[in-house]
Amino acid sequence: MSRHVGIVGVGQTHHARRRTDVSQAGLVREAVDRALSDAKLTIEDIDSVIVATGPVLFAAVNQPEKWVVDAIGAQLKPVVRVTSGGGTGLAGTLAGYYQIAGGLVDRVLIVAYDKLSEGALQYSISTLYDPFWGREFAVGIMGFSAAYWRARMDTLGHTEEAAAMVAVKNRHNAMNNPYAHVKKEVTVDDVLKSKPLAWPIKLLDVPPISDGAAAVVLSSERMAAKSTDRPAWIHGIGYFCEADNAPSRSLLVSEPLAIAVRRIYRTAGITNPRRQFDLVELQEPYTCFELSYYESLGLCAPGEAAELIRSGATQLDGDIPVNPSGGCAGANPIGAAGLIRVVEAAAQVMGKAAGNQIPNAKLALAQAGGGWANLRGVAVLSA
């Protein structure tokens, strides 16, 4: 019953710590222009717009889609904002996907962004926690992430060295990404010796804080040919959550990601992810989470992530390259980070990755997530 939906255009900004040359609206326009141009369309061809951002406290404009609408020429179109923590770009794509799959419209523009230089990031994140029970002890994102990693270290062998290899790989890949914010290679030793922030998390385990935007154009099958003869078809997409009873949550595995993977792999016919996928783009953003996701996404068995990164299989020339774009280590405009994963994965299967194109890539996995590690989703894209 569902109509096929494809990505027919992608775009992103040049990401940086501070994009002082543009406002939030200008940043969004830059990504939208690139995506529309890539899709050989103008804003007139778009039926509906979805804006995805991180929490509005990040940049101190409430309901910013209502400002952005003028800058992208979308006045009088349906415009709505979907926001779901750091993975909001994927959540926005999901909403757009259903507008087409459900038969409401033919073309949807998704744009995701954050201009983190304009707000107090960790302060804003800290307001995530319950005012009565959470804020007494929980601050920012790093603390609980360190707790997760610490637990996984003993049981699953996610060592500091293994995580450092993730930093080395992703920063190496970002060197060739024209849009990346951070371009500086590091060694395992550099990472291990970098300043501890919340042990075992150290400075070089952590992504940068960036200004940036990304956009994709989704199209029904009927209208796709006008843009490209090689869309990135969405074979499955989902975004699941876990409620907030921290004491009963597993520190070892992301339950919402496990659910998303089970459901979406079934929909998309994925039975052996490591063999079937040509590449994976995932939203780490800390090195330790990439190790965890190797296991959750079925690229290896639980407890084998350290061996997987050590083997080189997830490098550019490995059998299952992970984050050929450099991932969040290359750029981390949080609200856009999930959509950047979709953009990079789609560009790979469309054969036009801006940086490290994986030869003959036909099937890609994009993963994103947010909240207090309790919102997780995946998308399967195919040439």
Partner: protein, 383 residues
């Protein structure tokens, strides 16, 4: 409805979707004894009654609320348990709940899900509504001059009254009637119904609008259960079918909007009616949102229920029952107001006897958002 169902060509080309149940807390100026999660879980518990369904049957949860009103980043994260969303697909649509319903309808129409729970809640008593709106104004041209929602509403009202010779007394009559309706039939806590004199005597907010001519912010929560055709026919006494949906966002720059009319509302309505195949509009029931008495008349005209300048004629003896619930003027749970309209219209269509209605078959519901009602959503419902 008459000839409304003749045209099939614009109909959504996928599965039928119905609203099968709704639940709402009383709307009060302050629910001081209840937290957000208490209001939310109250409606989530109640919405399944009589359907034979429970939380296990829900495939996804979509919700509307505001981080800014809640004083909390990614506030949906903190309410996932209360929303019954644990381990389900969940997203926050940070706009009025009617947009969350729109998303849910497309998801079920695509065939990907059968049952969706749509939630919206508001607790403006814990926040500052003026700041909620003024923080939506863009920072370069609007904020420095103190432009805000009150100014926008006042200027729109001035243009509207001037263009059509509508008087402030007529606006006061609209307000008094809506409060009467809310006291009589709405689920709204009302201490005393103001008469027109009291409305005109209330404090000046933005000429010509008096305080009581503005919608009154209230706390509350609402839940609506959506289902695919097969489930709806078995679970609902009276399935209320979504036959048309449209949305449109106006320009952010207030000076670029058409004065004294709500252009985006007209566009949204036209999309919904085209979608539904309604050639001539004659729903028996209309439940609309408005942030002032003047904008309520403008909305009714934009929806095609009255000629320009004649919205006031719908107050008495019209063939369409407008805001029998009282509408948004006496009770505006910001972010939930439009979804409350859907819930109220469902009740009127399924239990018309309670409202003195004679077998109505169609309704139009309307939601809005933003400074000076920048964005609008319209839906046609049929039984």
């Amino acid at each position: 409805m008459g000839d409304g169902l003749e045209s099939e060509k614009h109909k959504m080309n996928t599965g039928k979707v119905a609203a099968i149940a709704s639940a709402q807390t009383e709307l009060r100026t302050a629910w001081s004894g209840a937290q957000h999660i208490d209001l939310i879980s109250a409606v989530v518990t109640q919405v399944f009654k009589g359907t034979g369904l429970d939380l296990d049957d829900v495939d996804f949860v979509l919700n509307s609320g505001s981080d800014v009103l809640d004083g909390r980043s990614i506030s949906n994260c903190g309410f996932l348990g209360a929303m019954g969303a644990h381990h389900k697909e969940e997203s926050r649509v940070e706009e009025d709940g009617l947009w969350a319903a729109l998303y849910g309808v497309t998801k079920i129409a695509s065939g990907a899900a059968d049952v969706g729970l749509i939630l919206a809640y508001s607790k403006p008593s814990e926040s500052d509504v003026n700041l909620f709106y003024s923080s939506q104004c863009e920072p370069f041209y609007q904020r420095p001059v103190g432009f805000d929602h009150r100014a926008a509403s006042g200027m729109q009202a001035q243009s509207y009254l001037r263009a059509h010779g509508v008087t402030e007394t007529q606006l006061a009559n609209v307000v008094s009637r809506r409060w009467q309706d809310a006291a009589q039939r709405g689920r709204v806590a009302i201490a005393a119904v103001p008469d027109a004199e009291a409305v005109l005597a209330s404090v000046n907010v933005a000429a010509p609008l008096r305080k009581l001519m503005m919608s009154r912010p209230v706390d509350g929560a609402v839940a609506v259960l959506l289902a695919s055709e097969d489930i709806a026919r078995r679970a609902a006494r009276t399935p209320v079918w979504f036959t048309g949906m449209g949305a449109s966002m106006d320009r952010h720059a207030f000076a670029a909007r058409q004065p004294g009319v709500l252009e985006a509302c007209s566009v949204a309505a036209r999309r919904a009616y085209d979608n539904a195949g309604w050639k001539s509009v004659r729903p028996a029931v209309a439940e609309v949102s408005a942030s002032s008495a003047a904008s309520e008349l403008m909305v009714l005209e934009s929806l095609g229920l009255a000629a320009p300048g004649h919205g006031i004629d719908l107050l008495d003896g019209a063939d369409v029952a407008v805001n029998l619930s009282g509408g948004a003027l006496p009770a505006d749970p910001i972010m939930a107001t439009g979804l409350v309209r859907l819930s109220e219209a469902m009740r009127q269509l399924s239990t018309p006897g309670l409202y003195g209605l004679k077998a109505p078959t169609a309704a139009v519901v309307h939601g809005a958002g933003g400074v000076g009602m920048q964005t609008h959503c319209a839906m046609t419902l049929e039984v």
